[in-house]
């Protein structure tokens, strides 16, 4: 009986240990680019976002504040344009987690959107790959949070955020 109880505890612990929290796409991508100093990442954590929201400054766009309120984290990765394909491949490789969405191509730039949904079907992560052909720079914008209809509406309808 004692052995059985120990076995049960060991199984539970091993399963709990396996249930680790995951990382966002930017973290996965950065782990692939270790050692390359040209790859840079700007991280804005949930804590910092909270602080941002607490700061009430008169010249801030209210709808932008509302949109930021829906986010949990923002990560902006910049790298040489060669990394675009790597990033895209990594996303497509993890196609069960990240779903390819729309893409665009202009004379000077091209990009693609990827989303991740939770088990309830809500979008919880939005990734944009953007390559500027002029500057030969890749920008990855990785947002996590409540990427809902209202948030997307805000992005669609705002040509400029700055007041």
């Amino acid at each position: 009986m004692r052995r059985l109880a120990l076995l049960f505890i060991a199984a539970t612990l091993s399963l709990t240990a396996a249930a680790q929290r995951s990382f966002d796409f930017a973290e996965k991508f950065l782990s692939r680019c270790k050692g390359d100093s040209t790859v840079k990442c700007v991280t804005v954590s949930p804590k910092m976002l909270e602080q941002m929201l607490k700061q009430h400054e008169g010249d801030r766009n209210e709808s932008l504040i509302q949109a930021i309120g829906k986010l949990k984290s923002v990560r902006i990765v910049t790298a040489h344009e060669d990394y675009y394909q790597r990033a895209e491949e990594l996303l497509l490789k993890n196609s069960r987690r990240f779903k390819a969405d729309k893409d665009y191509r202009t004379e000077h730039a091209h990009g693609a959107f990827f989303t991740r949904k939770n088990k309830e079907g809500n979008t919880v992560e939005l990734i944009m790959l953007h390559e500027d052909c002029k500057s030969q720079l890749l920008t990855i914008i990785n947002l996590t949070g409540d990427i809902d209809e209202e948030f997307l509406c805000f992005l669609y309808n705002n040509k400029t955020f700055k007041n």
Partner: protein, 170 residues
Amino acid sequence: MDYKYIEQLVERYFQCETSLQEEQILKTFFAQQEQDVPQQLRQYIPLFQALDDSHAQLSDDFDERIQELTCEPRIVKARTIGIGERLRPLLRAAAIVGVVFTIGTAVNLPMKSEQAAADEINYSAYKDTYEDPTMAYDKVEDALQLLSEGFIQVRMADSLRIDSLYSEVK
């Protein structure tokens, strides 16, 4: 008539000393009419007549009747059954269901938490690039601006496609 021989045979019969032939003689003697048997020997008539009928066939229900007469009736003792004893099968079934449910939950719970964990980001590992919220705000603003421009590009490229993205998220 001298019945001394018969009397002797009867006496020897009760002492279990008679042979089969002598018993047959007694049976034959007592089989005659009652008035032909002397008074002092008439008391033995039923006995020897019964012995003479020993070869008679037994009825089919003979055994049952004998058993009925000999076997004691089964005694059923009254017993008080308490509520605990009465509910014992129900409690056993409930216990089995409980054990199965507990094991099922124990197996299912880590799987669910694993799924939930896959949805949840490990924010504790995040290290902020900026300590100043104003600088962070500017960077977030720029990022959202770029995102917005991306959406606009998509809309311009294919207005129908952007609508489907919108409706899919919706």
